[in-house]
Point group: C2
Chain length 122, copies 2
Amino acid sequence: MQELLNIARALSDPSRVRILMFLRGRELCLCQIIEMLGLASSTVSRHMSLLCQAGLVRVRRNGRWRHFRLPGAGAPPRVCKCLRWLEEALAGDAAVARDGRRLKSVMKVPMEVLCGNGRKER
Amino acid sequence: MQELLNIARALSDPSRVRILMFLRGRELCLCQIIEMLGLASSTVSRHMSLLCQAGLVRVRRNGRWRHFRLPGAGAPPRVCKCLRWLEEALAGDAAVARDGRRLKSVMKVPMEVLCGNGRKER
DNA sequence: CTCACACTTCGTCATCCATCGAAGTGTGCA
DNA sequence: TGCACACTTCGATGGATGACGAAGTGTGAG
């Protein structure tokens, strides 16, 4: 039951739900997620840690960089089914759609800009 | 998204998850749920209220009594799918199985006993 | 109407949690 | 090696939450 509770708790925060929706079908760098959420990097780092602990997100380290994606088919069924549930429950959600549009433009920004200037502008 | 968050938050507490598992395939009276959880009636009342607000549980009032059950097929898809996910994710869980056995004996106790004496013994 | 009873709401307490900025850690480059 | 940079952890703050007992509300019976 603890694992299920970890998942439910991970989904209890709007920012973490948004992060999961950002990651559908793509891998993102932490700086992109920070840009999208507009929160302090320490806060986003914490959110990602909780999502990884719940098994809902995977991290790929690349030097100083951290890239995140949703787990693939090898993940436990409860994780796969939960993510499917999430996606279906939020299909048509206006805030998710808005995020989706904004994510497209954020992804066009070179990462050197986000990592370098991104911090200053926030 | 708010509705999804309400569901996730409802599932973030172990007692509330247990309650949902008690209610599979049956309707229970509040006093039976109180007996199973061993918590104060005020606490259980609050839990049930949150589950109802999240749409995960339905209440039938019968005079002074409150009977709870899971929503039927008419519930929103996100609720139905979430309950299915819960059930699958907890299939084989030892604590849930233990609860299931205990629930059988609790259900054999006449409700007048639970409502009357139950309170004193807790 | 009064009273017992089942339940709900309120107030309090301790704990948890999202957030921030500061401090710390690890990587990469000159 | 020193320094810049990306990220993580720490400490503090304010708000949220699960628990309890007390107080309040609604129902049912005499």
